[in-house]
Structures are given as C-alpha cells and as structure tokens.
C-alpha cells in the first residue's frame, strides 16, 4: 500500500517539477541568464480566444528579446481569479504587470494593491478608465477608427443602390460600442451627402459569438426580407450571420466583420465575408513590452496608445501567405 502512495506522490511531483523547468533554470544564479531584467506578469481576459493568445505569445517573445522573463496566465473571465493572479504577481515582485481586466470596476482594489506595491501596471486591449487607479499606459485597438473603416467597406459594397442593413452588436463591451459608434457616424455622414442611402434598420445583440450571431441574423432576415448588409462587431458573430444567410439562401447579403482572426480571414478569401477592419494583437504584444522598457528607462508615456486597424478584403486574403 505505502509503495503505491509513495509512487503516486513522487510521480505527481515529478510532473510538476517537469513543467517548472524553465522557471527554475532562470532563477538559478549560476546560469548565464542572471542578466534578466525581471519578470513581466501578464493576466489576460481569457486564452480561449486566439486573439488574446496571440497577444500573450508576442509579449513572451518580445519580452525574451528584451531580456525579460514573462508569465502569461488567463483570468478565464473570472475577476476574482484574476485578482488572485495579480496578488501572486505582487508577492513574486514582478517588474511590471500587464492585464486585460475581466471587469474594469471590480479589478480596481487589486490594481490599487499593485500601485501600493510600487509595481507599474499596464492594460492591453481592455482599458480600465476608473478613478483611483494608476495605470502607466493603456494599449488598445482604435475601435472607433475601425468602425469607420467598416462603414466605408459597407458603403463601397452596397454601391449606388444603398439599402437596409443590420448591426449585430455586443453592447456589454465598450470596444464594440466604439466600433458601432464609428460605423454609424460614417454611415450617417454618407447619407447626409445624399446618394445611395443606407438605413440601419435594426441593432441586435449577438453576444459576439457564433450561435447568438446566427440567431440574431435569422431574426433580422425575418423582419427585413430586403436586407442588403450586415455589420457584425467581431468575426464569430459575422460567421454566425453567414451561416444564417446560407440557410436562408440569401448569400447576396453583404457582411462586414471585425477582428481578422484566421477563420474570419479564410471566410474573406472565400468571399463569405466582404471585408474586416483587422486588429493587430501581435503589434499590441510587442508594443506593451516596448512601453514597459520605455517606462523603466524613465520616459513619460501617453496615457493611451491606440493601434489603428486596417481594412482587409478579398484581394488581401488572396495574397496572405498564412491562409491555405
């Protein structure tokens, strides 16, 4: 009996120490890496979404290049869990904390703790604009500008005729509100100019997910059989909408998405989505490390750094080496 237990425990610990290799080797004072400038603790909203995975991977890669160790963990959309992760970072005395808050209000006391411990805090993608917290700089996509680009693509696709369009929203997310704001402004300006009037007939909740996007698009088609276009606030919602269009046999309806995830880009290549204002999670990751270095060098950083989107259409997809 005892042997079993011993074997079990030792094998479990062996597994644990196995995963720990990279950490122990770098904290070993005899290793040549003692020049490491410190550790960057990163807690992202989730790692299920490839977007955040790319941010995390790029922070790790760029951090390594600049001589930092990194630890990237997922908050799993659970702000209490994220709070625990930040506290563990504080105990570890990391040199910088990067986070995309799971809840920008509930995370306040935790950020304040990091502030009190003298650790600089940066946000990526999701800002925290609440009073009482000190954040060195916030790096995010220019969602407002991206929405404008999306509207230009829509105007171009609908051409002279104009017509009715639907917006698949995700109202909970501030980023999506900005996207729709930019989109609506350009559409309104276009309508004011007079030709090819585009009418936003409905704004439905898509949850930013395929299943809800599908349902929302189906409902929109029921209500407006002459729908000509759909603006979806992200790729999953756009792809869900596309499925609904295919089912209803209305594939002539133009979809403009947002994001530029691989699946979305593929759909653009196949003509299923007309265009995406694409985000650059890789640039975000690199820029955040750059910001950490600049802050540590004593530079004054702007409170916010926006990364512009760029419009991605079929022609771009055909040239894209990353797509099959």
């Amino acid at each position: 009996m005892k042997k079993y237990i011993l074997a079990l425990v030792t094998s479990a610990l062996a597994v644990l120490s196995g995963c720990d290799k990279p950490a122990t080797s770098t904290t070993d004072p005899t290793s040549p890496q003692t020049k490491a400038k410190g550790t960057i603790g990163v807690s992202l909203l989730t790692l299920d979404n490839p977007f955040f995975k790319v941010i995390g991977d790029n922070i790790t890669a760029e951090g390594k290049k600049r001589g930092y160790e990194t630890i990237v963990v997922s908050g799993d959309k659970d702000v209490a869990k994220q709070g625990n992760q930040i506290k563990d970072f504080i105990v570890k005395k990391v040199s910088a904390i990067v986070l995309s808050p799971c809840d920008s209000k509930a995370i306040i006391p935790v950020i304040q703790e990091a502030n009190a411990a003298g650790i600089p805090v940066f946000t990526v993608d999701i800002p925290c604009n609440e009073p009482g917290v000190k954040i060195v700089t916030q790096i995010a996509t220019d969602n407002y500008g991206g929405g404008k680009e999306g509207a230009q693509a829509m105007i171009e696709a609908l051409g002279e005729a104009g017509g009715k369009i639907a917006v698949l929203h995700f109202k909970q997310a501030e980023s999506c509100q900005l996207r729709v704001k930019g989109f609506t402004e350009v559409i309104n300006a276009h309508n004011a100019a007079g030709k090819g009037k585009i009418e936003i007939v409905t704004e439905l909740e898509s949850g930013g997910a395929k299943d809800m996007g599908y349902k929302a698009a189906e409902d929109a088609l029921q209500a407006h059989s002459d729908l000509r276009g759909i603006f979806a606030i992200n790729d999953p919602a756009a792809l869900g909408a596309r499925a609904a269009l295919e089912k209803a046999g209305k594939t002539q309806v133009v979809i403009v998405g947002f994001d530029g995830q691989p699946e979305g880009k593929q759909a653009i290549k196949e003509g299923k989505i007309y265009a995406d204002p694409i985000q650059f999670p890789d640039k975000m990751g690199v820029q955040i490390v750059d910001a950490i270095v600049r802050h540590s060098k004593g530079e004054t950083l702007p409170p916010q750094m926006l990364i512009p989107t760029s419009l991605y259409k079929k022609a771009d997809a055909l040239k894209d080496p990353e797509l099959k």
Binding site: L8, L13, P29, S74, D88, S296, G298
Partner: protein, 437 residues
C-alpha cells in the same frame, strides 16, 4: 491505533505538507532586505568602495516601505560625510529628471543607492552613454539572500485569503454531501448574494455614503435570501423527492439569471470604501478578517459535526436514511438544515467576494460550485454520503489553493495549470481510495 485513526481521517494533510515543501523548494529565489537593514548594507558598501566623500543619488519607489530605506540611507550617508545629491521617490521618469538635472550642472556622481526594485530600472542601465557628464556612477543595491517566495508570510496569508470564500462555502457543501446530497447552486448564489448586497447598499443605504448599519443590513438581506433559496431547495428535495442534483441545478440557473437581472448586466460598484473591511482588512493579529471568519466557522462546524446530536444525525442520514428514520431521527429536518446552511454560507461567501472586489456582479462565482465540491472531495468526504470530516474539507481547500498559488509563483502558464490541477485532484482522491482499501 489512535494514530492510524487520525491518519485515516486527515491523511490528506501529508499531501498538503508535501506540496508546501515542494513549492518551497522550487520558489526559492533572491529576496532583498528592506528598510533600515537594507540601508545599512548599502551605506557600508558605498563607504568601502568610494571612501570618504562620495556623491550619491538615492532612488526609491513611492512605496511605503521604501521611505524608511531612503530616510535612513540619507541620514547615515550624510553623517559619514557623503554628499547626497538628490533623493528620488517615485517612478523611473523621476529618476531620469534628477539625473538630467545633475548632468546639466556638471556634477559627477559616484554611486546610486537603490533598492532591489529600483536597481533594476533601465534608466540606470546606460548611464555612461545617456549622461556622460556624471562620470561612471555605480548602482548599489542591498545584498540579496535566498528564501522561498512561497514561504513569505505575505504569500501564506494570501493563500488563506484566496481560499477563504471557497472554504467557507465548502462547510455547507460538506454537510450536504454527507447527507448524501449535492448543492450545485452555490456558485450562482455567490453572484446573487454579491449583487443583492451591492444593490441594497446602492439603492437603500445611500450608496457610497452608506453607514455601517446600512452595509450590514445589505449583507444580511443577501445572506438571508440565499438561505431562503437553500430552504426552497431543501423543501423540494425532502417534500417532493426531486433529486438534489436536479433541484440545485435549477436553482443554479435561477440564481444566476436573477443575479444578472438584478445587476442589469453591469457591475455595481457604488459602495463605500470601508466595505472592503471583511474581504481585505486584517485586524486580528495581522490575520485577514476573511480568514479569521473562516477559522471561526470551521471551529463551530467541527464542534457541531463531532460533538453535537445534530452532527451525528447528519452522518446517520447520509449513512442510511431509512435506518436513521426508524431510529427516530427527523431525516427531513436534518436535510433541510444542511441545505439551509449551505445557502446561508454561500450567501456569506458572496458577501465576502463583494467585499473583496468592492462590487457585485452576475459574473462572480462562475463555476465555483465545482471548486467547492473538489475541495470537499479532496478533503476525504465521500460523494455517496455518510463519511467525511469538516477539517478534512479545510485541508482539501488548502491543497487546491496551494497548487494554484504555487503554479502562479513558478511561471506555469494557464493551460498547463488546468491540466495539473485536474490531475492532482484526481491523484489526491485516488490516493485516498487506495489508502482506504
């Protein structure tokens, strides 16, 4: 004989100790002294390297502990005849400003006295090229010593504080599982309770300006509401014989939906700052208040389960409900008690969470029921009922907390953390089974 009994009941404590030992070894890393001790080291290093009259810049962060270091270093250096050019308290850019100023006035600089943290600032990395007029100042930091991050008292208290919510709820869950039932609604009740408490304070107790009484009332309403939900589940289970799994699954959905509805899908944070007392304060011997609360509840529950009639009845009901009924135990009443206790404790857990995060939201406590059940089962309580120990659950909760914390400290990324946690839970239970065979 007595020893083996203890082993059978609390064998998991060795797993916990083993984990602690393991993480102590792998998190062993450089620590730096702080305050006066650090100042002494730095001052003597500067004196021995630069002789009588060095020109020194002191750089610390604006953290509280650093002020003592800066003051003490400045005092001792001046007393020893050194010239302190400037003392920087703040961020790297403040240090840069001071360097630029010194550079402009053409003064040489011999040393920069730093803490471990400020010594790593990159602003001091290329002094020779950035500020040629300063000469070649050297960055002096206190000598570091080795000590496990895991064993820092700050970290151990963190672990206890992190697990307090789950451990508190696990008390009720242990009772429910010992009666042979299960309560899946506790995670959603955290959300419901946090939202109700936060909303009550915002709408009925003057929001940010709420008095202590108002806050207490909000918490009480939230806890009692969850107790009522528990009573409802209990009634469904005892009176209408609906399986606990189904009843509490339904209540999980109801509570979660209600929490989102009541909070209007937002985070309610219009609560006074003093509300964080329960979740973040530490008034008793430096122990976090939530941990003190947890310990008190565990003592209470332990006495209840091992010394009182009701506790015996709970075991009896779970062991064999029919036999218990025939020997005169009010089986239905005992089960009602377990579900109400579980509800009340989940409500309390929600209040602690609301206090910890100074807000209430429907997203809180998502999937916590599984963590709570894991803590109970890892602690040695049998899912078939009739067996289990209250302190076993506490140990189970700590095992989970230690693994999570240890992995965060050792740079293990999230996906791997899930795999390891899953395997360790399985391994722990397996170990228990083998031992009992």
């Amino acid at each position: 004989m007595k020893n083996s009994r203890f082993l059978a009941d609390y064998g998991m404590i060795f797993v916990l100790l083993l984990l602690c030992a393991f993480f102590s070894v792998v998190t062993n890393s450089d620590q730096s002294p702080t305050g006066e001790a650090a100042a002494k080291q730095v001052v003597s290093a500067i004196q021995s390297q630069f002789g009588k009259n060095p020109r020194v810049l002191i750089a610390v962060s604006d953290q509280q502990g650093d002020a003592a270091f800066a003051a003490s270093t400045e005092r001792e250096l001046t007393a020893a005849g050194a010239q302190v050019v400037a003392t920087v308290k703040g961020e790297p850019k403040d240090a840069r400003e001071a360097l630029v100023k010194t550079n402009a006035t053409g003064g040489k600089l011999d040393a920069i006295a730093c803490t471990q943290v400020t010594g790593a600032w990159l602003v001091f990395a290329d002094l020779k090229t950035d500020f040629p007029a300063l000469g070649e100042p050297r960055v002096i930091t206190p000598r570091s010593y080795r000590w496990p991050n895991f064993l820092k008292s700050e970290n151990l208290l963190n672990i206890a504080n992190q697990i307090a919510i789950i451990a508190i709820i696990a008390i009720g869950m242990t009772m429910v599982i010992i009666t042979g039932g299960i309560d899946l609604s506790v995670g959603s009740m955290i959300a419901l309770s946090s939202v109700v408490a936060a909303r009550f304070i915002r709408d009925h107790a003057n929001g940010v300006g709420a008095s202590v009484g108002g806050m207490l009332a909000g918490c009480l309403v939230a806890i009692l509401l969850c107790g009522t939900v528990g009573a409802f589940s209990g009634t469904m289970i005892t009176r209408f014989r609906v399986p606990p799994f189904i009843v509490t699954l339904s209540m999980m959905l109801v509570c979660s939906g209600a929490a989102y509805k009541l909070s209007n899908n937002t985070t309610i944070s219009e609560i006074p700052d003093s509300f964080i007392w329960l979740g973040r304060g530490a008034d008793f011997l430096g122990l976090p208040n939530a941990v003190v609360l947890m310990m008190a509840l565990y003592l209470l529950a332990h006495v209840l389960m091992s010394r009182m009639k009701l506790g015996r009845y709970i075991y009896a009901v779970g062991g064999n409900a029919e036999a218990a009924r025939l020997s005169g135990v009010a089986v239905e009443g005992v089960m009602m008690f377990a579900y109400i206790a579980s509800g009340l404790l989940a409500g309390l857990g929600g209040v602690v969470m609301a206090s910890l995060l100074k807000s209430g939201s429907g997203t809180f406590g998502n999937m916590y029921e599984l963590k709570v059940i894991a803590a109970v089962v890892v602690g040695g309580t049998s899912l078939t009922g009739g067996q289990g120990k209250i302190f076993g659950t506490l140990i189970g909760a700590f095992i989970i907390a230690v693994i999570e914390n240890g992995m965060n400290l050792t740079n293990i990324e999230s996906q791997m953390q899930k795999i390891v946690l899953g395997l360790v839970i399985l391994g722990a239970v397996l170990l228990d089974k083998i031992r009992h065979r």
